[in-house]
Amino acid sequence: MRRIVLIVAAALAFSSSAFAAEWTMHGSLKNETAYFVSGEKRLDKLQTRLDLKPEAILSDRWEFRGRLLAWYDAAMDVEQTNATDLTTGIKKHYRTYLQSKEAYLLYGGDAFDFRIGQQQIVWGKTDGLRMLDIVNPLDMREFMLDDFLDSRIGLWSARLNWYADIGGSEHEFEFIVIPDARPGEFAPAGSRWAFALPATPAGIALAVQPGDEPGWRLSDVEAGLAWRSNLSGWDLSLNWFYGWKDSPNMQKSLTPGLLTLTPVYQRMNTVGGSFSNAFGALVLRGEVAVNIGEGINRTGVTPATSIGRETTVNAAFGLDYNKNNWRISPQFFVRYLPGWDKNVVEDQASGFVSLMVSTDYMNEKLKPEIIGLYDWADGSWMLRPKVSYEFSDQITARLGGDVFGGVNGFFGQFDKNDRIYSEIEYTF
């Protein structure tokens, strides 16, 4: 909070200087209601969300941009407290939310842009699943159902984008320093959106200890570089990021009658790149991210044998096809561990396929869409149909569902969480 105050104070200092700053406020007020229609049927959420985007033009060169997201979830007061998935602690976690998503100063130079403050930095070309989009961790309180814009955790960082004309093409060089290293946030244990913990043998209790999370320490600083350009019609990027894996690995320690899990956060280097180009009605796009020294879970039950490090190759390829106001986008994701052995918990090769189909009617007032994701390694899947209707420039309503299938697995673990939802949003 102190850092936000500093950034806003800096913006206000500009405001009171000779340049007459112009402040604006945009945003939205939204109701999101979701109801579980499988497992124990109940309200998932009854949220009233306020999304505020304050901005200021501070001078010819300087701007301030911010975003604040807050909500109150009445479902946490409507639904009965229980001892399983709606404990007092879980209700407290979900009842209210207030977070700054972005608060940064932007300096727009002739050949460079400089941003300092809390930011969301987005890399990569794929939708729905992240491979190269690894700079900001996610808040997965609602698994991966929330928009990334809402679930991405803004990080305090400095970013310089320098643009140079080389050989007749513009080249962008991006430099990032992040002192605010943070892991992802997950749904609280026991809640319906919590990831399944490892199974324990009969008669063995399970305990989870707190881990040593990365934080505001010099030794934890993250850094990244990227290059982007358009060469011979191809949009290309090369990326490098030295950071922390967002999700911890679980170090195990087995004593008689008790299996203790300790989250271990590990650094890794990511090198990769992305591409896209259009060919007639098709757009081809993709990205590759090689994680060097990525933390992985192993099958052992001692601290030394339960976690390790491997190089992982993550790649995604997608197509966008547009015709007669229909949009069809299949994507293929693969993850491969070249140094895999049988003691690694995950498969040597795993991944997903996804398909998005959308269209529009009534001059784009009515927009149906469906997204399907299938985990081809474990056979689980998720289907997300949605229809939105624009009543006016300010008011949009949406109806949809999130359906999970499969026996366990990435999506199958939420098989009892099928839900339908409605949204009504007023934007200003």
Binding site: V122, D127, V283, N324, N325, D360, D393, Q394, F428
Partner: protein, 266 residues
């Protein structure tokens, strides 16, 4: 969504014209329209009103920048309002002729990503307007049509040529969504002020009318235009303002960088 910028760019180009007169064949007249002087670059604001048959109105405001590179051009368009599309921006590198598809990139603030988009489906409608990709070209791709001068008449007090363009093949008709288009071109300024379109079955489909034509910085410019879909009763009204021609826009204006930064009036 993806083509609104093109709409603005091309509407601008579409609604400007050089001074020329003389009797010619259909193709020659369309070539004269295509060859007009529309300034080396342009900044302008545009307001778009989408009106359905019940009279319900949706409005959008944009600002666009366009620069010519010989026969090619580049444009970038930012949505300013309403709030739910604010910061959406479209970058277009528009290549002359049909040998090469235009390059287009769309910035989606909800994803914080720049997306490469296809520009090949010229019959697609965009952003809920009554304009297709083809409609918003400065002139249609001339080599895709058989052009016929069918006569002259007086329209709204102006002497106009009436030129019909029929797509050369069934495949083109399918791609464009039209079986025929009739252009009414003012003889004094080589600018079309009305276009009638027929669908693939030969039924009258749409009518485009441009109005309030005046010279700005020496360039003939239409300040308003309306495309009406006769079959659905929906129409799109465009109004333009704050034109600035030949300000010397830099190449960097038309880059992915500017798409991501967005436009803020200073």
């Amino acid at each position: 969504m993806k083509v609104i910028g093109l709409l603005i760019l091309s509407a601008t180009m579409f609604f400007v014209a050089p001074v020329y007169s003389g009797e010619s064949g259909g193709l020659e007249i369309m070539q004269q329209v295509d060859a007009r002087d529309d300034g080396d670059d342009l900044i302008q604001k545009m307001k778009q009103r989408l009106i359905d048959r019940r009279g319900n109105v949706r409005e959008r405001e944009m600002i666009s920048f366009r620069k010519d590179y010989a026969k090619d051009s580049k444009s970038i368009t930012y949505f300013l309002a309403p709030s739910n599309v604010r910061d959406t921006a479209l970058l277009t590198w528009d290549y002359d002729g049909i040998a090469k598809d235009d390059d287009q990139w769309l910035y989606l603030p909800a994803l914080k990503k720049v997306r490469r988009i296809s520009s090949s489906d010229r019959g697609d409608y965009f952003m809920g307007t009554d304009f297709t990709f083809e409609d918003i070209k400065q002139t249609p791709e001339l080599e895709d049509y058989n052009w016929t001068l069918i006569g002259s008449e007086v329209l709204d007090g102006h002497n106009v040529w009436v030129v019909e363009g029929e797509p050369k093949t069934d495949g083109l008709k399918k791609n464009l969504g039209y079986s025929n288009a009739r252009y009414y071109i003012r003889k004094d300024i080589n600018m079309y002020i009305r276009v009638d379109f027929w669908d693939r079955k030969g039924k009258e489909l749409k009518r485009l009318v441009s109005e309030e034509i005046k010279q700005i910085d020496g360039v003939w410019t239409a300040m308003r235009g309306t495309m009406t879909n006769i079959q659905s009763g929906h129409r799109t009204e465009l109004s333009f303002s704050e034109h600035r021609y030949n300000t010397g826009l830099t190449d960097r204006t038309f880059s992915e960088r500017m798409l991501k930064r967005g436009y803020r009036a200073k």
